[in-house]
Symmetry: C2
Subunit: 402 residues, 2 copies
Amino acid sequence: MSQSDLPVGQDEANQPSQDANSMVNPWSVADGVDYDFIVEQFGSQRISEQLIERIERIIGEPAHPWIKRGIFFSHRSLEELLDLYERGEPFYLYTGRGPSSEALHLGHMIPFTFSRWLQRVFNVPIVIQLTDDEKFYFKSYLTLEEASRLGFENIKDILACGFDLQKTFVFRNTDYIQYLYPAVCKFSRHVTLNKVISTFGFGPSDHIGKYAFPPIQAAPSFSTCFPHIFKGNEKVHCLIPCAIDQDPYFRMTREIAPSLGWLKPALIHSSFFPALQGPNSKMSASDPTSSIYMTDTPQMISDKIKKYAFSGGGATQEEHRQNGGNCDIDVSFQYLKFFYFDDEDLERIRQEYTSGTMSTSELKTKLIQVLCKFVEGFQQNRASITPEIVQASMEIRNIEFP
Amino acid sequence: MSQSDLPVGQDEANQPSQDANSMVNPWSVADGVDYDFIVEQFGSQRISEQLIERIERIIGEPAHPWIKRGIFFSHRSLEELLDLYERGEPFYLYTGRGPSSEALHLGHMIPFTFSRWLQRVFNVPIVIQLTDDEKFYFKSYLTLEEASRLGFENIKDILACGFDLQKTFVFRNTDYIQYLYPAVCKFSRHVTLNKVISTFGFGPSDHIGKYAFPPIQAAPSFSTCFPHIFKGNEKVHCLIPCAIDQDPYFRMTREIAPSLGWLKPALIHSSFFPALQGPNSKMSASDPTSSIYMTDTPQMISDKIKKYAFSGGGATQEEHRQNGGNCDIDVSFQYLKFFYFDDEDLERIRQEYTSGTMSTSELKTKLIQVLCKFVEGFQQNRASITPEIVQASMEIRNIEFP
């Protein structure tokens, strides 16, 4: 799941009510996130060096840079999933997106790019949920029809990440609810109102669509929801790559699964992708200057980064040369950590920027170069995704599964 | 809608929590119902003599005895519906049942028998919802699969009431949710948690399936949910015959419809069908002696009425002859009021029983005769309803609508 465009300040009316708890949840991300604290509070596991080595042994190639660089930093039951995989039991991937905007931004790319990598290295099917119902519930300005239309458009972006169409099933909830519904009913009967309130912090004046939604996001974690892929096999394990803010959904899913005799999905969590204005500001769908969109031109990318990318460098060139820059808070460096895959050169940049040898301007120039290449490559892929390809990916069809 | 098998004492765990309000709602029927009070409290309209005459003028035949005898006693917007009907705008009927038991009892027959009559005299289509999801939510002992199976079986009983299959569409929610879902989402966004709590009295430890359900019962009130019948016409009016305890669902439906630009459904309400043990006792699905089932043999019917039917007669034959019986509380007389359609003879019986000329035993003999004939006729019809006929009634097919 994507961290999508949350939290969205403009849509206060649809935010959880005042009695919301202060935990990280899908709709409110605390400023200045302490990931160690989150791992401890959520009770997930850090991805250790040993685990990374094990993954590399199994897949026979280097782990994705986002794992090695700690961007995917936490997991649940990944070890057990790998045990089973090594014994010949394949799993499937589940990710998704809430379609609330026409264009995706860089942050939205994280779960899809990573899922595509997982699909390739483990050679497994993936199901991708477009929660048009959820976005209709949480964005009061959206009609259901518009959310569904955005869903269709967003699928083009998702497929442009290069998924293997033979092993990829994409669905909008409004098209596929029939297949999710038995699992949604069974799951719902195990979730009390109290539980939803304590997990998501909704209040008494929130509408019941919000309360009803969590089981709909939980359902695709269970292979029964995809008879055309798993042919009735209820015991296929599921791995969910998602931003850490989606964990409450799946923590609840994992909590309830055993009482239904269902398998707990495994999770792999990414950290938040910072807004241009810095890790302590919020990416807002309503503020186009807060992020780079996948539709942006090279000029727009260049302008935005030069103008808005929060700098960890010195206040003056003089000061920067003397004291150096702080890569931990410098957004340009953080973005390179996400999108520049040359480990050695990235380390050189880190050292030079930290020491003050490299200026903020030089760092930004490097980032602009890297992002323009990434975005242009994406745009070329996307141009080749026709509505027919989208339709084909959504077709309820036989999908090969061992 | 049927008053179904409520209230069900055995299933306390699934009853509304202690903070339920004291109103009549789908899960708790106050003892000794005061219908004038209900009409006033609910804000519905009594069915007047003038309205009955108007109905008879429009349909060109006598009104159903249940209207004339005050069994269907209350309505909402029926006058307006008739205005439109007279101007050539047809409507459709919507009723339903929660499938929680294998066999239906006499009380369950009321809405279906009456709906069948409405379908005939107005020559309109009917949609019939089987809420297998609801029964799964409210009966903790039921699996979803079992509720769906019971739904299929119950459709045989429903069709045995003689519906015109050319104009009848029957669906289980688990089969048809895809078509209801857009309306369910839109409706849900207009219902706050507070509203559900104040209407149905659920508590914080109730599961969210219960909270999510009301929009699913509301949805079929809107013609958009049936594209195969109304071909996209969103402005077809709906008439819902139901027991008065279902009114909270549709009061909420009517309240919210205008904010979505949808038409308010019209309603026609029946009073409660009394349990054998009397108007102050409760019909319980778990107590077979509390009602006559449509599967009962003549011997069973005879035994139950002789043994359990609450008598309004004198304590002794002597006393009865002297003071007479009280037809208002005598269950045998009440049942005759429902199922004996000879007005003159019923009036004779009333007078003779009230005066004490007719004994309780004679009254019961008459009722046994009437019910055995009704139940046997039903059983013959039901025997002719094959699974293929059920399937055909559930098929999403073109249904003629002017």
